[in-house]
């Protein structure tokens, strides 16, 4: 990390600001896991880290290495797109299994499975839980 001393002062300040904002956002997301009361509310907390936190920290990294001109800034773009593309998978799985279990046990105040006329009987219903 001896690179940091090579940064001009304005870039160092900007990078620090973005890093601190991103980490604060991630910390607040983690706090949300502690403070929010229901499971479904807690589903929202980690998305703070996955969207705002990742974006700000990657932006800081991009600016740092773009100013130093030591490396392509492409890695961060890849990191952001992979995180954005993969978080829905786990989040939807957690949400669906919680919904399934709560409906099965009938304990919590969850909406029942929406009913309606099937549009097309041949249609593959992949998300049927």
């Amino acid at each position: 990390m001896s690179h940091v001393t090579d940064l001009p002062i304005w870039a160092a300040a900007l990078v620090c600001l973005l890093l601190l904002a991103g980490s604060a956002m991630t910390l607040i997301g983690a706090l949300g896991l502690l403070k929010l009361d229901s499971f479904y509310s807690r589903l929202h907390a980690p998305t703070l880290a996955a969207s705002g936190g990742v974006l700000l920290i990657s932006l800081a990294s991009m600016i740092c290495f773009a100013v130093l001109q030591s490396r392509w800034i492409f890695h961060e773009v890849l990191i952001v797109s992979f995180v954005v593309l993969t978080t829905p998978v786990t989040l939807m799985m957690l949400g669906q299994s919680a919904l399934y279990r709560d409906r099965f046990e009938g304990e919590h105040d969850v909406p029942s499975k929406p009913s309606g006329e099937p549009v097309d009987p041949d249609l593959d219903n992949g998300a049927d839980v």
């Binding site: 907390a45 492409f74 969850v110 099937p118 219903n125």
Partner: protein, 162 residues
């Protein structure tokens, strides 16, 4: 060509990503990248993905702008809710709405958008009834959320994917 390389664009894209990650244009990396990309393209072909056509790709840009603004706004909103959670419990709830989208890839994109914006969590979608169940952290006005999602995301996605 179609038999060996069913997705030429995907093959090229993967190869470019591989070379950019390794930051080298040496023949060894090109050969390794080409082998890996061909393998992944072959696997992709076996998954039989649904191919959709982009009718109006030009609309993707304003959509991306909307998403950036909304991600920023909802990040701040969710932070506020969490920091206030001790005193004012979050007014969260479930929301069921009808989504007039049929294309698989459009639905996948909508799921990514709704998940990337904190405050809305995609729970369940039934393709037969087209009903989507969401959980919203700050649900003060149901109709407001339904209108927002329909106007800002569903309508442009419908136009883009045709």
């Amino acid at each position: 060509m179609r038999v060996w390389l069913p997705y030429p664009l995907l093959f090229l894209g993967l190869l470019i990503v591989w070379l950019l990650i390794n930051q080298s244009l040496s023949p060894g990396q090109i050969v390794l990248g080409a082998i890996l990309s061909a393998l992944l393209v072959w696997i992709m072909g076996n998954l039989q993905p649904h191919k959709s056509t982009l009718r109006r790709a030009g609309l993707l840009l304003p959509l991306a702008g909307h998403i950036a603004v909304d991600v920023f706004r909802s990040n701040l909103a969710v932070m506020k809710v969490i920091l206030k959670a001790g005193r004012h419990p979050a007014n969260s709830g479930f929301l069921t709405m009808k989504i007039e989208l049929e294309d698989e890839n459009a639905l996948a994109m909508l799921a990514c958008i709704l998940t990337a914006t904190p405050g809305t969590a995609w729970l369940e979608h039934d393709r037969q009834t087209k009903l989507l169940t969401l959980h919203v952290l700050d649900l003060e006005n149901e109709q407001y959320w339904i209108d927002l999602i329909t106007r800002r995301y569903v309508t442009p996605l419908k136009e883009i994917f045709g």
